[in-house]
Symmetry: C2
DNA sequence: TAGTGGTCTAGACCACAAA
DNA sequence: TTGTGGTCTAGACCACTAG
């Protein structure tokens, strides 16, 4: 296999190696040449080859082990990146004009399942915020958020009245860790009413519990209007 | 700000810089010191600092531009990696024993919306495979797959009878690109019957269209049993 | 134990975009 | 124009692990 062009930049090498994999030249489980051999082949240093292979490894195409060499991943479990954006930005990115309407806010005793999910004692008092997000004036999502006062210190009524809470949180109590679950639910009557859709419509519910270091920030339930979809890709 | 410990490996620098960001020392929009300044501070070369900062940039915490310097990302839109695994592996990873039951398979004229989604002429003949996946013997997911014969050449009845199609595809026609959509639907009666659940139950439908280079591989609709959730995290 | 990838250095040149 | 990050080199030592 002689090469007429000798790409010596790491992106070209990456492309080249990936092509060998995707064309089936190098099959899952196959051991590929050592860094030093590829370096000789491409006419560059080991560092440059290493950069390319490392990138393919983190992308899941290769598995690398010291002494074991570099092997084409047996089952390239691909990851589809799911955005966790600011809610209004998500609406903007669809080309629609975002709107925000506060439904309810204030301190409230946490229901047992909320407190439990956050790892807090039952009956603790949290901030409870419910708000409606609009796209071009039409109901789009309903946010149901429980926030831990101790962690979001400084957050007050003046914040959530005018602008979405997540925008304040982003700047003042950014999450370091989160757990996300996506499920389908039959739209409860009260939410369906806000969406102006029939009750029991199948709709998406995204639940997100977030932490700052090891302290719980809060629990967000994001109800989507029936028919709304999450989109991603590889 | 003197440092008593001077971490000189790139992971430590990464941790250190990330901490400055997450503790609010460096706020969104702030310009952070140049590579060469950080290198002096940490007592290492520019390459090592660069490695750490590059990593934080690809993770979305920093934005870097030549001449513009390195800036803390204004809105760190985090990405939650959603696995796109082999179906039986996904079941295994929950600790359950996977099962596979073929429901129906063979050539079939593609419905207009399927052909359109794949960018093919209406009325084209595709492979249509429907199968039930079980977890510990219980119905878990239903796969409804349309495959483009020209792209998955070599796939035949003997393959899909005994083992899931995706496992053959992984080795013989791996995807290079995919579009994924997640939505909530009311379970149609025929599917509900297989799941042994009431019709109209809200359940998740994941639709995936995949390509190999620019050639369409097929369209997969994965129906989840009512109550099933997708899980991810940051 | 020996071989592979992982990391770091000290330097250089280049590409891009801000001033 | 000029300063910043992006990349590459040639070399070195180290950490892990397969044989």
């Amino acid at each position: 296999m002689s090469k007429d062009t000798l790409p010596s930049d790491w992106k070209a090498i990456r492309r080249d190696v990936l092509e060998q994999i995707q064309c089936g030249q190098w099959k899952p489980g196959d051991k590929i040449p050592r860094e030093i051999e590829l370096a000789a082949e491409y006419g560059c240093t080991r560092s440059t080859v290493g950069r390319a292979l490392r990138d393919l490894a983190t992308a899941g195409f290769l598995e690398r082990r010291r002494k074991g060499g570099t092997v084409v991943a047996a089952n390239p479990t691909r990851k589809a990146p799911l955005d966790v954006p600011i809610l209004r930005d998500a609406i903007r990115s669809t080309g629609a004009e975002p709107g925000y309407r506060l439904l309810q806010a204030g301190p409230e005793r946490a229901p047992p399942e909320i407190a439990a999910a956050l790892g807090l004692a039952a009956g603790i008092e949290l901030f409870h915020v419910r708000a409606l997000y609009l796209a071009n004036g039409l109901p789009h999502q309903i946010e149901d958020r429980w926030l831990v006062p101790a962690t979001v210190r400084g957050l007050g009524p003046d914040h959530w009245c005018t602008q979405p809470v997540d925008e304040w949180l982003l700047r003042n109590a950014p999450l370091t860790r989160a757990r996300i679950e996506i499920e389908a639910i039959a739209l409860p009557a009260d939410l369906a009413h806000h969406f102006d859709q029939p009750a029991q419509s199948a709709s998406l519910l995204v639940t997100r519990i977030s932490w700052r270091q090891s302290k719980p920030i809060g629990l967000l339930r994001l109800y989507h209007a029936a028919g709304e979809r999450l989109k991603t890709g590889i």
